[in-house]
């Protein structure tokens, strides 16, 4: 059941023990009541030992939060770090040279200004500039982050990105996969990087993602079919 919550509504949770609050929920320190502070769909997930409560809502501007996977563009280089832009017209974040696999003082990463990369937000303090990393900091090993070569970035809404990344039943990528091989990286900052075998298929994927964002899932296979057909015709 989908329950749309507005700020000021009350949230009822069956068991008050071990509650973890997520985005859109504020715990009033005095009364110990949970209060919604955004408009969104209420999600109460009691599956694990703790009950997590959060609101699922869409927004345009990305605010870094710890643990998010993001796609960024390097805007400048400094003595020991890169500045990376995660979204246009917002503050850039820092990527230290040490936040790469096998990094040392001598072994510097070789990324240049304008390069695209996939990373994880490692620090997101309100007071400080956010930091990202291209390494799994718990193990210090390569975890699939780093430079994204070629391909194209599609700008979509934040909610669509979350859906693509976290909802394993979301049909879009599976349907595209039936038509072409591709690599994909999904950034929670509203960016999807996609690269297929050749340039025309990549372009088809680009258009499909843009179209599908605005359409119900039932339309997806139709859109995919049309987009591929259209490009096959234009190539002749």
């Amino acid at each position: 059941m989908v329950n749309l919550i507005y700020p000021g509504d009350s949230i009822s949770i069956p068991e008050r023990t071990n509650v973890v609050t997520g985005p859109g929920i504020y715990l009033d320190p005095k009364s110990q009541h949970l209060k919604p502070i955004n408009v969104g769909i209420e999600v109460i997930d009691p599956s694990k030992r703790v009950t997590s409560v959060y609101l699922d809502f869409n927004s345009k501007r990305y605010i870094p939060s710890e643990g998010d996977f993001v796609i960024g563009v390097i805007t400048s280089t400094f003595a020991d770090s890169y500045r990376v832009s995660l979204a246009n017209f917002s503050t850039a974040v820092t990527l230290s040279y040490m936040a790469f696999p096998n990094a040392s003082k001598k072994n510097r990463p070789t990324l240049k200004v304008g390069d695209l990369l996939y990373a994880r937000v490692s620090k997101a303090n309100k007071e400080l500039e956010a930091e990202i990393e291209c390494v799994d900091s718990s193990t210090g090993k390569d975890a699939g982050y780093g430079h994204l070569d070629g391909g194209v970035v599609v700008d979509v809404s934040l909610a669509f990105c979350r859906e693509l990344l976290f909802n394993n039943d979301f049909p879009l990528l599976k349907l595209i996969g039936k038509r072409t091989e591709f690599e994909v990286a999904i950034g929670l900052n509203g960016k999807i990087w996609i690269k297929a075998a050749d340039i025309l298929s990549t372009l088809a994927c680009y258009r499909i993602i843009l179209d599908c964002e605005k359409q119900p899932t039932s339309q997806y296979s139709e859109i995919i079919k049309n987009r591929f057909k259209e490009l096959a015709n234009s190539a002749d």
Partner: protein, 305 residues
């Protein structure tokens, strides 16, 4: 300083690669303009032009003012093209000295005002002391490229649609008749300039562009914002239906072969011809809906003969 839109290297490379394959991101042909939608408001001289996601609004207004001393027989005509953050976060409020903003307003100025599209002598009421001051305010509502083209269409449609109140002059006394009293009079529009903007891309290296013989440069008509951000050069051609080049502006950018530029002019003419017809059709249709009761309200056939 306003923050800029950040573009990655691979985004630029991807665009060039797709252009080499003769396709554009949005599926248009290279020489295909987006469909132009012209919407007229309830008031005269109120125009909204939509091209894809680009939206431009233009409002024509007029008031009585004093003409310039050195031109006593001419009315005043001002076009204001100020961008604001309403069009997109890349624009700053009150700061219109950015390179693109200046070029955009100068081109519209040259295309419409300096080309004499509006008959300013017809705006004179009493020589040397009173004249109409016509003002075109262009508002950029959303930016997805093609501002110059859209605003030129908007201003020209507005001028064609607008009507100024009728006046009677007896000596120095000027009476302005409200529209209920006397039918307002249209402005004297002498020709309809239409702008077409080309964007140039260089798929090869600079040496080939300057020294080479291949002329492989790609030219696109009516670029969207993402294409505009990555282009190497631009050319705006303004033409009218009488096969006159009103204004051409290629302010630097990628050097292009003269014959290619001539070719662009001819392509532009076809588009201009089509758009002029569209503007006139829209005006005509609006006139018909406004006058649909004219036949009933008229007293001409009231008596039976």
């Amino acid at each position: 300083m306003a923050k800029d839109i950040e573009i990655s290297v691979s985004q630029g490379r991807f665009l060039i690669e797709t252009l080499k394959q003769k396709v554009r991101l949005d599926g248009r042909r290279f020489d295909q303009m987006r469909d132009v939608d012209i919407e007229l408001g309830k008031d005269r001289g109120d125009v909204m032009v939509t091209m894809g996601k680009t939206r431009v609004h233009c409002r024509i207004s007029c008031e009585i003012a004093q003409p310039y001393e050195d031109r006593p027989f001419e009315g005043l005509f001002v076009i204001s093209t100020e961008t604001s953050p309403m069009a997109g976060p890349q624009f700053e409020n009150g700061n219109n000295t950015g390179e693109d903003e200046v070029l955009c307003s100068r081109i519209i100025e040259k295309a419409v005002r300096r080309s004499g599209a509006l008959d300013v002598e017809g705006l004179c009421i009493v020589a040397g002391s009173k004249c109409w001051a016509v003002r075109a305010d262009v508002h950029f509502l959303n930016c997805d490229g093609g501002f110059i083209d859209a605003s030129c269409i908007a201003v020209m449609t507005g001028l064609l649609h607008f009507k100024k109140p009728d006046v009677t002059v007896s000596g120095e006394r000027v009476t302005v008749h409200p529209p209920e009293e006397r039918e307002p009079v249209p402005l004297g529009v002498l020709h309809t300039p239409i702008c077409v903007t080309f964007s140039f891309f260089n798929p090869e290296d600079t040496e080939e562009n300057i020294k080479g013989e291949s002329n492989n440069e790609i030219s696109l008509i009516d670029a969207t914002l993402s294409e505009e951000l990555l282009r190497d050069g631009t050319l705006t051609i303004t033409l009218n239906k009488n096969r006159e080049v009103v204004q051409v502006s290629k302010a630097g950018g990628l050097p292009m072969d003269a014959l290619t530029l001539m070719d662009c002019c001819h392509k532009a003419y076809n588009i201009v011809e089509r758009l002029t017809d569209q503007v006139q059709r829209v005006i005509k249709e609006d006139e018909q809906t406004r006058n649909q009761y004219a036949a009933i309200l008229s007293s001409e056939n009231a008596r039976e003969s």
